[in-house]
């Protein structure tokens, strides 16, 4: 299949997505900044290269599904959906404003969103249910869900992990935004989820690790799915929380946080430099 975009074009898109999401977080004066920046490249590759979805196909029963279990990173999802043409980007000026449908967590009121999420630990079960329906109907769409690493503490993930392997849901792909941070600090200090790969393997999953902020690596990995016959796949995407803005990178307090005017200008400046560097390549 011909690829719609080159790696470079997608890298440019990531920079633009990051700029946009920061802009709307700044306008809303609230937002989950760090986690939105860490998963930007994942959403970019999913929507521009992997998922068989578009505004036209959104009511097609055979479309691929994307369920954002870590719903708090809604800003990156909104920005990517706007870029796909699900709604005009200017709508996002109302994020979190009174009576706006662009609520601070994914809601089906917004075109392109499959499921209402925001309470952690629901997405994997929902996705397993959709994947099971595909098996029953003998259709070949895939179901992708994005999990946070802190989110893995929710027991429901492990209930779903066990069941998905039992039903041989090789059409289910969980992507872990492995940025190693949650609100209170490092996952390993808060309540360690490790070893993540061995746990999922023991539950009967196929596990692949990838640099989750590398467009080419992400693109390669998604081509290989399912990597093992009759097994659900976990992609451990090693990311940096706050990716793209030096002073937000790998800093827990940027989980949620709105940049000051000065910080905002600095962040935009850094992203502009990244853009210029890319287009001069």
């Amino acid at each position: 299949m011909m690829q719609k975009y080159t790696d470079l074009e997608l890298q440019v898109k990531s920079v633009n997505y990051r700029k946009s999401l920061l802009k709307y977080i700044k306008m809303a004066n609230t937002g989950h900044t760090g986690g939105s920046l860490s998963c930007t490249d994942i959403l970019n590759v999913l929507y521009n290269d992997v998922l068989n979805v578009s505004p036209e196909k959104f009511s097609d029963k055979n479309r691929d599904r994307y369920i954002q279990s870590k719903g708090h990173s809604v800003e990156s999802l909104y920005v990517v959906l706007a870029d796909q043409g699900f709604f005009p980007e200017s709508d996002l000026e109302t994020i979190c404003k009174f009576q706006s449908k662009y609520v601070g967590h994914p809601t089906r009121k917004v075109n392109g969103i499959e499921f209402n999420t925001g309470a952690l630990g629901h997405g994997l079960s929902i996705s397993a249910g959709i994947a099971l329906a595909a098996k029953k109907d003998n259709v070949d769409y895939k179901v992708y869900t994005l999990l946070g690493d802190g989110e893995l503490a929710e027991g429901s993930n492990w209930e779903a992990a066990m069941m998905a392997a039992h039903y041989k849901l090789d059409n289910l792909v969980a992507i872990l935004d492995h940025n190693t941070l949650q609100i209170s600090g490092r996952n390993r200090d808060v309540c360690s989820p490790y070893p993540i790969d061995e746990k999922f393997e023991a539950f009967g999953w196929s596990v692949i690790s990838v640099d989750g902020n590398s467009i080419p690596e992400l693109r390669e990995v998604f081509k290989k799915i399912p990597s093992e016959h009759e097994k659900p796949t976990l992609i451990i995407a090693n990311t940096v929380k706050g990716k793209g803005v030096s002073f937000m990178e790998d800093v827990a307090k940027w989980h949620h946080g709105v940049p000051s005017d000065e910080q905002y200008a600095l962040a935009m400046n850094e992203l502009d430099h990244q853009y210029e560097k890319l287009i001069s390549m």
């Binding site: 809303a28 609230t30 719903g71 979190c96 404003k97 009174f98 009576q99 706006s100 609520v103 601070g104 967590h105 809601t107 209402n116 999420t117 925001g118 309470a119 952690l120 630990g121 802190g150 989110e151 503490a153 929710e154 027991g155 949650q182 609100i183 209170s184 808060v190 309540c191 989820p193």
Partner: protein, 317 residues
């Protein structure tokens, strides 16, 4: 006189964390159990000062409540702290079986309650918690109105050997007047007296009810305001006394109108044959709109002006 003349205190949440610090200093058995919620619970300094008294379970609210029950059964004084929306939904079975039914003296602290996370959407609202917990035997429900009631409620919880659910928001609250500087779980507080209409409110809706009373006073209407900080057990005597004295009653709550304070009062009044004009102000059974807590309150008429209008209508004025 409007609320502006009342002195604005701190967020009840801050009073909670400060009071818990004090208690923890004196009693090493006091534990805060958190689910990646120490920041939202303003408990970061607590964790730094008393690292052995903070138990972190990760983002796992069911585990949070189960672990809290286990710790309590082994003699610890446990405060399980998590956003009210997750604490009373995700962990409901643990609350019912491990805490209430097993009678473990856990204090469940629901932070950022009601629509404190108004713009974050329905996943983050807790407008159901009173209804579900009222239907569970052996758990007291306490919703303090201001800093005074919050501190007193925390102190009372720490001395109690029974399950209790406390909830509050994160906005700074005015320090309300009251006829008696006294707090007792299960005994309502009178904020101000009046004979024409009574507002029975709880939590962060007491302040707007008080504001409405001040506006009504300006129009020659006497309004009584009650802080019904304890929803379970309900202070029946206070409700009967007010309904006998006033011409009409309005209940106000940051909760769905189904199953909350209003219905608890209505049920009591009916069964006591006290048939007076009555209105429940709260959140209707519809998808809650989003915005800031204040914007949402105003929209549903939980404001001085909105409640004043409800009162005039109920009194046919």
């Amino acid at each position: 006189m409007t609320l502006q003349t009342l002195n604005i205190g701190k967020a009840n949440l801050e009073i909670f964390s400060a009071t818990l610090m004090e208690l923890a200093e004196k009693d090493r058995n006091i534990l805060a159990v958190t689910s990646d919620s120490r920041g939202s619970g303003k408990l970061v300094p607590f964790g730094v000062k008393f690292p052995d008294q903070l138990v972190e379970v990760g983002i796992a609210e069911q585990n949070l409540v189960g672990v809290a029950a286990g710790l309590a059964s082994a003699g610890k004084k446990v405060f399980a702290v998590s956003p009210a929306c997750f604490l009373t939904t995700r962990s409901l079975e643990q609350i019912k079986n491990d805490v209430a039914y097993s009678n473990q003296p856990v204090t469940l602290v629901g932070i950022s309650a009601g629509v404190s996370y108004g713009a974050l959407g329905s996943t983050h609202h807790s407008l159901h918690d009173v209804a579900v917990l009222r239907a569970i035997n052996n758990i007291r429900i306490v919703i303090p109105a201001d800093n005074f009631e919050t501190r007193e409620a925390i102190l009372a919880a720490s001395e109690s050997n029974k399950p209790i659910y406390l909830k509050f928001g994160k906005k700074a609250m005015p320090n309300l007047p009251r006829t008696q500087e006294k707090f007792e779980i299960g005994k309502a507080s009178t904020i101000c007296e009046g004979d024409d209409i009574a507002f029975i409110a709880c939590g962060e809706t007491v302040a707007p009810a008080y504001e409405a009373a001040r506006i009504l006073e300006g129009r020659g209407i006497g309004a009584e305001v009650i802080s019904m900080h304890t929803i379970n057990p309900l202070d029946k005597e206070a409700i009967i006394r007010i309904a006998t004295k006033c011409k009409a009653v309005i209940t106000v709550e940051e909760h769905c109108v189904n199953g909350g304070l209003g219905e608890a009062c209505a049920s009591l009044l009916m069964q006591e044959k006290l048939f007076i004009p009555f209105k429940i102000v709260g959140f209707p059974d519809e998808e809650t709109i989003t915005g800031s807590q204040t914007e949402i309150f105003n929209y549903y008429g939980i404001s001085g002006e909105g409640l004043c209008q409800s009162a005039l209508k109920l009194l046919d004025m």
